[in-house]
Symmetry: C2
Subunit: 199 residues, 2 copies
DNA sequence: ATAGAATCGGAGAGCTTTCTCCGTTTGTCT
DNA sequence: AGACAAACGGAGAAAGCTCTCCGATTCTAT
């Protein structure tokens, strides 16, 4: 992967400017339109030729990664930082709500977190695994102190996170309040009293 | 729209056979591959020319409706039937879980319930409104008896349903248990520890 | 100012998808 | 059996997408 950010040779001024501009436009376009936005459309909005976009980002995945990878890394970092927090329950639910709050307004970020639906994390990276591992640790601690239902697996939480994201995104689109995470968290919480059994 | 199911003139035997076959194949293809399945692919799997598929179903929407509309009508009918049930809380949660259970294994049905993501309900029909109204009624009754959080709007429940569907579908894909609906319902349930002050 | 390299822009190749058209085949009716 | 309408099938038009190519342009260094 011949990147161009090293000190090998400084980019020409116009190239640097265009790269920045494309990144900026792609950021906005992906947030509002999701992963399905086309390169032609990004080029048009950025006011450059499509060839220029491809020179800086050889594939669609490369562009998407450049824009979104950092956000997901942020979630992983958050989870790690919280994995030694004093109140394990608070750490788990806080992280969950935080991810939903931050990712919901960004269509492409949601699409990406929804691995399997089209584009997924880069194959060479361990990011998906890192996220899963960090989440699993947070969950395990919260379950150990009895804050979260014991019958939940990390994968279940992952799926609930995706679902919650979908719900929250919709609610956001119609101007609704940000309450989906709270409700789902309530559902994951261990029942302190007798379980209501059946429906 | 010149339909061909009325008694105007009976379909020729081969036409009838092909129509049935296409419907059958489309049913399966939509369930497993979702709304993005192509007509060419359906024609190929049904062993007929693509022209034949288009003769029976003039647009993609027409085919999708022929396959899925009944399912959604079923959900509406269920909701109506339950809207006078004795235990309003049980009725609400039961309906919610039932819809999730039935729709989750069907990719296209989930896609469709997720209105806004691509194809939506037919414009001329009142189905979307009917569904919303039936759900609203179920919800209102369940809230009146204190079974469901009072701060939930019908739209919130609709969004939670979609999110739950997304989560459940994923869980299903990896062979997980059917538990997402239970968790989300738990989250929607009014906390008994702090009763809604009653009347 | 000018040469030369780096970068640009967008036409277009190659693919997929929806949907149309019409020559050919098949069923039906007498 | 034979005639005629109904139905078939698949080539291909139109549109959209990703990605490539290369002549034209713009920057940089001397």
């Amino acid at each position: 992967m011949g990147d161009d950010h090293s000190a090998a040779r400084p980019l020409r001024a116009d190239a640097r400017r265009n790269r920045e501009r494309v990144l900026q436009v792609a950021q906005e376009a992906l947030a509002s339109d999701g992963l399905t936005i086309s390169f032609d459309e990004i080029a048009r909005r950025a006011g450059v030729g499509v060839g220029t976009v491809y020179r800086h980002f050889p594939t669609k995945e490369a562009l998407v990664e450049a824009v979104l990878l950092g956000r997901i890394e942020g979630f992983v970092a958050d989870a790690r930082a919280l994995s030694t927090a004093e109140d394990a329950g608070r750490a788990f639910f806080g992280w969950f709500a935080r991810v939903v709050e931050q990712a919901a307004p960004n269509q492409a970020l949601c699409d990406m977190l929804d691995a399997g639906s089209g584009m997924s994390l880069p194959p060479g990276s361990t990011l998906a695994g890192d996220l899963a591992a960090a989440l699993a640790r947070l969950l395990a601690r919260a379950q150990r102190v009895g804050a979260v239902r014991a019958d939940l697996a990390a994968q279940d939480v992952h799926d609930l996170l995706r679902g919650c994201l979908a719900a929250e995104r919709r609610a956001l689109a119609r101007g609704g309040a940000v309450r989906m995470a709270e409700i789902v968290c309530e559902g994951m919480r261990a029942r302190t009293s007798a379980p209501p059994a059946a429906f």
